[in-house]
Symmetry: C3
């Protein structure tokens, strides 16, 4: 029986709905001693502000506490210790583990060495499943999850956030509009997975043609380091940037999302519009992670009660 | 209604006394579950040991917990995120925020973006109001706050601690003796504010003439980097340094204070005298910050119950 | 009356057994609110992962909380503050202190300035008494502490872990087999102390002759920086390295221990054998530190109830 959350691919529609329902219940009831005496280990091999802090807030809001390995430069890892040893020792101190690592596949590998639940908080270009769950939660709370047109704009090539979200959305009745420059289109592998799941997907290079149809616009950052020269970056980034004027053509109920941090891709004047949901989205990370941790700590597998069988073995369910 | 503490200028005599009374009550009663379930966000854009730790101790002594953004170099701020975005996200995770930032005015600006109480823990050359409150608490517990002669010695030009304290003392019946080299006198702007408040202030270049009259001697560090060459620094620093022998001419009940860390301006042999109160002063930071946090978390403004009206809007009350 | 734990030399057999008994009781009962409201200060002037985290886990498992000074580079220590001042301020915020420092004798010096219990978590080439206690706990839980043959292999010259353990074992009926290259033998001073305690000690350069007799094999890392050139290091390290094949000649109940982190001195295939106890050993650090903290927080000296008198003054008991 699997107990780790490694990949968004593990998540069936029923699994997702169970997490989101539990998050909504926890947000409503604010239990403060549900997990008192519980310790969560935070093992971040890459800098992270919001993911780390929202996991820490989540366990503390549940009445438990966190143990943060801290900056990895200052740790025994610099003495040559393997990731497997590091997580085995930390797992001896805590009741569950959160791991972020720059290498794809690190979370799955690490999960094979520990007997406490391990949650992947991002592994390089790989997966970031808890981000996907909070994205879905934010959509569901605002506009539902079925019958939607969802635009995803920006860097669709390198963003693990986008890959996980796009695949998870195939569990729902949605049409995905992917808006990006040619050079930053969704990778072939992800598109293949989308097709295999029977997803309704359209690709665009220009937001304006599709904007009026959208219920959700998910914006991501285009990174300077993806371009050979600054001028080219400036030109592209300028095209995939929105401001309040851009949104005049949008549906009244359109919500704008962003995994944050943003730099210039959403102008500050959007913050004042009712479309802006990215700060609410960040805040939702706490409730969703509370739900995940609470389910994971029940023992016997995060989704052990699930009769759909889709998560009979979470490890096996993870992508290769 | 104001809910943030940005500047010592916000503090009337009644406000100060309410905080100090509450601190004394909390120190006496040591309640350990008064704020259980509460999360305090620590957002330090500059290194700090005692301020950060005493805020963290304060919320934990109240039964709550802290969420520390950690070293800012290791955070999303390095990806170009604005201060406004950073505090908005963190504010979504917590019930109150403490901010330290190298830029004057940062705390006031940040406070405009958050709906939870924000406490300024130092903004560049600007304000550091919680230091002032713990300084006043230490004086009151030892020698009272009225009818005193208070010496403030060292770098009076650059020290925000001194500026806040000097202004706050105008709420009480005190005579201030400012002792510094000519080049490190109190800035004109602060002296103007003191005069406007009708303060009794005398300036000196030599401690010995005034020492026998003092009830409090507040020593600050003279920083090497303020001087063009090391010899000049050495000469000046040597003159504004005290040891046990210096204090032989002092009143028996004189208390010596220092915001710490000290380097050489107070010799170690002073530690053994009954005059030394700087470690007690540091320790008082916990009780005073417990009181402030507890009042802030009551909602509706830290000093909402204050009928003096001086804090009707804390934001408006802050200095420009 | 002593209240600090500075050196393993302070520990009599009765003292050790009291800590280990208490650790076993705490591990069995898992009390989660025994020390609620208690704050432990963590003052690490050197990087440390497992020692810092297991102290933090220990106080949190007891229902208390920790205050971590964090990376010392980012603190007021860089402004020139003395260790004495730093620990005095931190001691004002907390109920007990844990100190790690690169200089031998730092813990004893610091303990003279604080009125809360201070526990030495390693001072340079000096002492690391809590590591010794968890080592003894691991042995006792697996094979007992009397009538044993204990091999200690690797760098016996520079490892403070080994020195403390070797001396502590003289309280029990054990034979110590010290296995190392000539250049890394136990220092003369430690050997003298062992002789004075009437210890049964044999030195070897080769593990194979003594391995079949051992109940415990304690392996330590040989550090590259101890050798003038890499080739010499490689040759030596290769000789004092074990794998599953090495252990074929060992007793069935032999346990292999290591203070971690390990690099190459224990091959990964040993992990799968029943001999491997080093991860359990790391985990035991939490229970043993819970016991120590709990005894220290009782006030009046960690071992105040001890009638053996061996710890009448812990400070005096520490090595020079």
């Amino acid at each position: 029986m699997g107990q780790h959350l490694i990949s968004a691919k593990q998540l069936s529609r029923a699994d997702i709905e169970r997490v989101l329902d539990h998050a909504a219940a926890l947000e409503r009831d604010s239990p403060t001693d549900r997990r008192s005496g519980t310790l969560l280990g935070l093992c971040f091999f890459e800098p992270s502000t919001r993911t780390r802090l929202s996991f820490e807030a989540a366990i503390k809001r549940l009445g438990g506490d966190a143990l943060d390995m801290g900056a990895i430069e200052a740790s025994s890892v610099t003495k040559g210790e393997t990731l497997a040893d590091t997580v085995r020792v930390l797992a001896g101190y805590v009741d569950a583990l959160v791991l972020r690592h720059p290498s794809e596949g690190a979370a799955r590998m690490a999960s094979e060495f520990v007997s406490v639940p391990l949650i992947n908080a991002g592994d390089g270009a790989g997966q970031h499943p808890t981000q996907t769950l909070l994205d879905l939660y934010t959509m569901r709370e605002n506009v539902g999850l079925d019958g939607l047109s969802i635009g995803i704009m920006g860097d669709l090539k390198y963003g693990r956030t986008v890959h996980s979200l796009s695949l998870a959305l195939t569990n729902f009745d949605t049409t995905q509009h992917l808006v990006s420059p040619e050079s930053l289109r969704l990778p072939r592998g992800v598109r293949y997975d989308l097709e295999a799941a029977g997803a309704s997907v359209q690709e665009h290079t220009d937001l304006s043609t599709v904007l009026p149809d959208l219920d959700v616009l998910y914006v991501t950052r285009i990174q300077r380091e993806r371009f050979p020269d600054d001028a080219e970056y400036r030109a592209i980034a300028g095209e995939y940037r929105i401001d309040a004027a851009t949104l005049e053509d949008a549906k009244e109920n359109l919500i704008v999302m962003h995994p944050l941090p943003r730099v210039e891709e959403i102008a500050a004047d959007v913050d004042e519009t009712p479309h802006a949901k990215y700060f609410e989205q960040a805040k939702n990370g706490v409730a969703v992670r509370m739900a995940l941790l609470d389910l994971a700590l029940d023992g016997g597998g995060i989704f052990a009660a699930d009769e759909s069988g889709s998560l009979a073995d979470w490890n096996e369910g993870a992508d290769a």
